[in-house]
């Protein structure tokens, strides 16, 4: 079953300890919806990595891209029979690319996937990042 999480700029405050915009409760909620994906594919390092990366990329966009502040930033997760869809969607005209900026590695190895597709589409003021993973070993 698909789940959605969203955040707006007013939800966040700058935490000097973390040197980041943060809201403990909001990030717990994001982890909760993504943990349902992890629970569906337990002890799967590939899934753990994909889920962790989604949170880290969300954090990067929140802190390093100003585009999203005009509206909401949304994360959607969905899974069924060995396929996982993860999406980050926010208003804007530019994509803050973590690989290009060398701040993080977005999924290093694709060895454990049957297919791994990561796409960024910018259209009509919306940035849409999609990660679609098909696992090699189906449940």
């Amino acid at each position: 079953m698909g789940k959605q999480w969203s955040v707006e700029e007013k939800d966040l405050t700058y935490e000097t300890t973390l040197e980041k915009l943060y809201n403990e409760q909001k990030f717990q909620e994001l982890n909760e919806i993504l943990d349902e994906v992890r629970a569906e594919f337990p002890n799967n390092t590939t899934v753990d990595t994909a889920v962790r990366t989604i949170v880290e990329e969300t954090m990067n966009i929140i802190n390093y891209s100003s585009d999203w502040k005009a509206g909401e930033l949304k994360v959607r997760s969905d899974f069924s029979s060995g396929t996982i869809n993860l999406e980050i969607i926010y208003s804007g005209s530019t994509y803050w690319d973590p690989v290009e900026k060398k701040t993080t590695t977005v999924i290093g190895s694709t060895d454990s996937f049957e297919s791994y597709k990561r796409e960024v589409e910018i259209s009509s003021g919306i940035v849409h990042i999609t990660i679609k993973i098909k696992l090699r070993d189906q449940k």
């Binding site: 973390l18 409760q25 982890n31 753990d48 993080t104 590695t105 290093g108």
Partner: protein, 139 residues
């Protein structure tokens, strides 16, 4: 489903074969991800900041075997002080601080993603278990 995003740090003494205390193991316990309380992150960072002095006279290892998972929040809070301390310890001819944990998990990959230049080097050495670490540093 209810999830907890709680992280804790426990410090245990390490003894050699003659029961003489030779150092400390810092056990990171729980889930150290975005969503963690800032006050807890601060407390752990304070403890980690003391390592560079403690490791001048005592053996130190960071045990991640009871850590469920972490993302760049946990990795940065724990690994950055170790890297900084180890660079100084190596220059001074002292034993480096080891990380203890399973290399086949996303816990290890999260470190590799964040610190690819140091991973599994003298600056960031890993050992799979407390027993193997003790064997390495006490022999």
């Amino acid at each position: 489903m209810k999830y907890d995003y709680v992280v804790d740090l426990k410090i245990e003494k390490v003894f050699d074969n003659e029961n003489v205390q030779v150092g400390y193991i810092y056990k990171i316990i729980g889930t150290f991800v975005y969503g963690a309380p800032v006050s807890t992150v601060e407390k752990i960072r304070e403890q980690m900041a003391k390592l560079k002095d403690i490791a001048l006279t005592d053996l130190v290892a960071i045990d991640t075997t009871e850590l469920k998972r972490w993302d760049s929040l946990g990795v940065t809070s724990v690994i950055k002080p170790i890297v900084d301390a180890n660079q100084q310890l190596i220059k001074k001819g002292r034993a480096a601080i080891y990380l203890i944990g399973d290399l086949n998990t996303d816990k290890f990959k999260a470190v590799k993603d964040k610190y690819p230049q140091f991973n599994s080097t003298a600056v960031l050495p890993w050992s799979p278990s407390v027993e193997k670490w003790k064997h390495t540093v006490l022999s």
